[in-house]
Symmetry: C2
Subunit: 113 residues, 2 copies
């Protein structure tokens, strides 16, 4: 696929991922909203890794929607702005739940593939 076509798929997915993250983050304010999208997105991306076959689907869903749905920069900024205790709890819960979600996603995806 040409680079322009790939950019179009990634950009179109980016609209969906960013807008959905915004809606969920608005419903669950602050750190808990970011934790929710990151854990949910890590699970769904791991499922997609094992189930999506074509490069078009991978670019649109994985690089576009799901990578834009989750965010690292907001997590880092919220962690630094929080109190030390909340910051450490936020790092621990993002890592523990996020990596666990990715492992569960791989297991579920392998069953579905």
């Amino acid at each position: 696929m040409q680079r322009q076509g790939a950019l179009l798929l990634v950009g179109a997915g980016g609209i969906i991922g960013a807008a959905t993250r915004y809606l969920i983050s608005n419903a669950l304010l602050g750190i808990s909203g970011t934790l929710m999208v990151n854990v949910l997105g890590a699970f769904m991306l791991a499922v997609a890794t094992t189930t999506l076959q074509t490069s078009r689907a991978q670019l649109f869903v994985m690089t576009g929607i799901l990578s834009s749905f989750t965010t690292y920069s907001t997590f880092a900024a919220q962690t630094v702005a929080a109190s030390p205790l909340i910051g450490i709890l936020n790092i621990g819960s993002n890592y523990l739940l996020g990596i666990t979600a990715a492992i569960c996603g791989l297991l579920v995806g392998r069953r579905l593939a």
Copy 2:
């Protein structure tokens, strides 16, 4: 601002953030590309936190561009897919460099504000 207007700004930013992440990740393959966008995005979001004043600018640049530019789901999937040693190094470097970048971004932003 109405929710539709906010979604439009976030979605438009999402196109830019996702497409730029894709281009950088293509240049720096795999784990190192994700580390690069996450650290760079964490720094820029922290600068934006202290310098952007209007909610329109915050929605477009922070929630749209910079949150979509970084990704947590790809980081989690790459960590799980890597060897245990590389996975642990990836978690450590993302956290150490990402949080340091966010602190540096806040310091730079406060000087610029």
